[in-house]
């Protein structure tokens, strides 16, 4: 019997729900592991899961400095999509969407992946051409995309201002039907439980304070809970990459940490059943199952490790939302928060061996890390197990910057705040 099923619910209800097994143990760190993963966020936990499941490597520890789900896995706007232009991006993110489609079964944990579609609105003929080109590229590389005209959008999203007098009149939109949203905390908990059941030690409140080295080679980590030796040390710490890698003596990386804010409104009755993005500025919005509108916009635009932002971006995001949905003007904001993004120099991630022997690095997710969680873990696990990247993440190694083979979706160049 699966650990979570209708039958097990019934069985536990019978015994008063007193004997559920905790979703993961609270083990003491062992003196040594085959693989130590620094960072117990979505990507670290997914890596542990796929290391155990796909490669049979179960002598693994995941070290988390806070509690599970305290970082970006619990701070995002839960959007899953693969609507990219460049082949290497489409293949990687579409592989991720495929993993998402089976994730609840794979983990035996309801991650509430809802393929409600992501609709990118276009506001000028030029932007429409650009989006259609991107849609064709997606279809060419095995993804899915549909162009919607204004009438089709009016039927799909009734609250939108589609009048010709709108500040940015809508001319059409690119819909990716297989995209959608997922329950972000459940993703962390699901991966954690699946990894735990295969023998992975998930160690919370264990901050890495340094790396143990044998010459150039990394042979372990020192933590607030003692020294842990490891044959391989994998780092997946998102916005904290700069700080953690400095502990290993890596002073410079093609990464800047920036703050991105997100917002949730008071709960409303069902209002929008897809993810809508605004092409006149930068806004993405969906409605959670609890009824709150979950939305966000641009980065604040300056280097930051503070998990909070400033008011100009709040004002910009709110005005964009009201431009799109005038009917929401009097809806009250419930909460806003910030997360630290590991912005890379070309807007694409880094999943790589190195930069030191015995070390593996997963970073540079910009603000698209959540959707990539399963594929990131899958590819990182492959890279750790086989000491070389999988063809899916081969374009995303660290040396691409020296070699000049960048994957720059937006063509912004080395200005991280613009990706």
């Amino acid at each position: 019997m699966a650990e979570y099923s209708a039958l097990s619910l019934l069985k536990h209800a019978w015994s008063g729900n007193r004997d559920w097994r905790p979703a993961w143990r609270k083990p003491e760190p062992k003196p040594s592991y085959d693989v130590v993963i620094v960072g117990g966020g979505g990507h670290g936990l997914a890596t542990a899961h796929y290391l155990a499941k796909e490669h049979g490597i179960t002598n693994v520890a995941v070290l988390e400095k806070g509690w599970l789900g305290s970082g970006n896995i619990g701070r995002n706007t839960t959007i899953v999509r693969s609507n990219y232009l460049l082949g290497e991006s489409i293949r990687f993110y579409d592989f991720s969407v495929k993993l998402w489609e089976d994730l609840a079964q794979d983990l035996n944990y309801n991650v509430m992946f809802s393929q409600r579609g992501v609709l990118n609105l276009a506001h000028s003929p030029g932007q429409a051409d650009d989006f259609i080109r991107r849609g064709n590229a997606m279809r060419h590389d095995g993804g899915d995309a549909v162009w919607l005209n204004r009438d089709a959008i009016a039927r799909k999203v009734p609250g939108l201002d589609l009048s010709g007098s709108a500040r940015f009149p809508v001319v059409g939109g690119l819909l990716q039907p297989r995209a959608g949203t997922a329950r972000h905390d459940a993703v962390a908990w699901g991966f954690a439980r699946a990894a735990d059941r295969r023998g992975v030690d998930i160690i919370e409140n264990c901050e890495v304070t340094g790396f143990v080295r044998d010459g150039e080679r990394i042979t372990g980590v020192t933590t607030t809970r003692g020294e842990i030796a490891a044959k391989k040390v994998a780092v997946a710490v998102a916005g904290s990459t700069g700080r953690v890698m400095k502990l290993a003596g890596i002073e410079r990386l093609p990464i800047e940490s920036h703050v991105l804010q997100a917002f949730v409104s008071e709960a409303l009755k069902p209002f929008v059943d897809t993810v809508v993005t605004f092409g006149g500025g930068h806004l993405y919005m969906s409605q959670s199952d609890k009824g709150g509108l979950v939305f966000g916009g641009n980065l604040d635009g300056y280097n930051s490790y503070a998990q909070r932002g400033n008011l100009p971006v709040v004002e910009e995001v709110m005005s964009e939302m009201v431009a799109l949905f005038p009917g929401l003007a009097r809806v009250r904001l419930l909460r806003s928060w910030g997360g630290v993004m590991d912005m890379s120099m070309d807007g694409s991630p880094i999943i790589t061996t190195g930069p030191l022997p015995g070390m593996y690095l997963n970073t540079g997710w910009c603000y698209g890390g959540f959707k990539a969680t399963p594929a990131s873990g899958w590819c990182f696990a492959w890279t750790i197990a086989k000491d070389e990247p999988h063809p899916l993440n081969a374009p995303f190694t660290l040396d691409r910057f020296q070699r000049g083979i960048l994957t720059d979706e937006k063509g912004q160049g080395a200005t991280p705040q613009l990706h």
Binding site: R243, E251, R252, P254, S304, N310, M345
Partner: protein, 107 residues
Amino acid sequence: MLINCPYCGPRDLSEFTYRGDANRTRPADTSTDQAAWNAYVYERVNTAGDHPEYWQHSGGCRSHILVMRSTLTHEIASVSLARGQKKASARRQQKKRPARRRQEDRT
């Protein structure tokens, strides 16, 4: 966040454009050192703490400024004009002069 523009005084963040990390040194235009150019274009110290960075007062006097700001708290320790560190002494003198003179200096 308020930034204390050397010309205009404390102004709201929305008047300023971020121009990036000031830790980097641009190699000479004639340099063909690939490692140096790679470091300048792509590599960042990504400091957690006091971070020297360039901003432009694009919604005001348009001057480029060098700001020392903590990336942990967003607290600003110092603001000066970006026209080279050697201007630091000149700036101290400027403070003593009336505003009118400063404008003449610039033209």
